[in-house]
Symmetry: C2
Subunit: 244 residues, 2 copies
DNA sequence: TTACTGCGGATTTTCGAAATAATCAAACCT
DNA sequence: AGGTTTGATTATTTCGAAAATCCGCAGTAA
């Protein structure tokens, strides 16, 4: 009926938010880019206020940074940031797994298997280039979430999700250059097995390796894209803390 | 010159944000309250857009929750939330302390002592009711930050700060009913000593006890304010995960 | 009585223009 | 010539009204 048909219950700002997030993660909006309102208004066909709303939320997710009253920037990528992200993810994810194994019930186990199956099936259907599919990425995200959702800690899950999305951008950067990703599917199956077997220590170690190896892969194949050091062109001092 | 004289470099939205945060933490805006724009517009003397900006950011900080297109709510408090908050804080804080002790230099040690001194001096000056002072709370926050700032992890520090502020609201709730807080000042000194002595294990344990005892204190004196369980009046199911 | 439907008031969300602040460059003084 | 101030231009932030949405209630039918 109206010009825009929204999925019902979703705001326009929420829609723009999702599209911008996707564009940032896929690097259609390059790291470090200045986000000008006029440009974005054309791109997403919304007004100032709606953009501002979406931008605010992306700042919270760490995908956009605000520069005082000098506008917004796509969050830069750097080796330092990637390494920090990885270390914190390992800490959080290990704790999530531990608690989930302690607290998870049968329904949780079933849910993990269901999510793995969906991801696995789509992977087969897509063939060699599954890692470029946004649909697969969504199922991959859902699978990893299902592993830890039983930890029962909203705060832990909130932070975990934020970190997962920030890391997703780095994964995308590397998959762009690396036609065949490593045999992640085998790792996924092993992790699932150990989690369901309630083998906490092994499950934690497998997850940690899963995360760290992905990071190493990114560094090996995509670190040349980072704005850091090197030519010193678009170098920005990285405030250690912006504690207000 | 103009009606409002801003501290230069600060936006109006930032100002409203700070005032609302303060009002939520001090419970001038009670947990679970619906935040109506008309009311807030009068209260803070700003327009819709500016409010929306501030609200968005408070959602990110976890002090406000957004309900689809049905507006905003002051984040409810509950025993469950407090316990989860406490557990996650312990995890993060222990890691921060560990890394800070590994990586901190002389300047960091000096900074800790300076911050302790300022907090300690104000405490003496204010006498028995220091725990009700917003100024003291700011110095207390700065002292705890200084202990861990040398960990060098922006992500860890970001999460730590968010958790600290969410917890601050609970602390305020209890201090309202508990005229004399426990001898926190002695604990602070012990923690500082062990951190500067680079005694990682003991420092971690002291911090953990510091956090957990405060939580127990809150539960003992203020849990009757929580909306949870009991009378079952304003009970809300706590979605384990709102993963989108 | 109970469930469904359509109206009216209240509230939130979106819009685009107006006000405010920052940037850049040319002209000015030292 | 080097550095600083001024003024024009661009970009962001704020505003209040208009559009869209939600909620409660009355009226109707089963």
């Amino acid at each position: 009926m109206s010009t825009t048909l929204r999925p019902a219950g979703e705001t326009r700002a929420g829609d723009v938010l999702a599209r911008m997030r996707s564009d940032i993660i896929s690097c259609a909006l390059k790291p470090g880019t200045k986000l000008r309102f006029e440009t974005l208004k054309e791109m997403y066909e919304v007004s100032f206020s709606t953009l501002r709303e979406a931008l605010s939320r992306l700042v919270a997710e760490g995908l956009v940074v605000a520069e005082g009253q000098r506008g917004f920037l796509v969050a830069p990528v750097s080796l330092f940031d990637l390494n920090d992200l990885t270390d914190v993810r390992v800490l959080i994810e290990r704790q999530c797994i531990k608690l989930a194994i302690e607290r998870g019930d049968d329904r949780w186990e079933a849910d993990i298997m269901a999510n793995f199956h969906r991801m696995d099936r789509l992977q087969s259907r897509l063939g060699a280039s599954y890692y470029l599919s946004d649909d697969w990425a969504a199922l991959h995200s859902a699978f990893h979430l299902s592993l830890v959702v039983a930890c029962g800690s909203p705060n832990l899950l909130e932070f975990r999700q934020k970190l997962f999305e920030r890391a997703h951008r780095y994964r995308r950067m590397s998959s762009q250059f690396r036609p065949q990703w490593r045999a992640k599917d085998v790792e996924h199956k092993m992790i699932m097995d150990r989690v369901i077997a309630r083998d906490t220590a092994t499950a934690q170690d497998l997850i940690e390796r899963h995360i760290r190896e992905t990071t190493e892969n990114v560094i090996a194949h995509a670190s040349h894209l980072f704005a850091q050091g090197g030519s010193g062109e678009s170098f920005k001092r990285t405030d250690p803390v912006a504690a207000e």
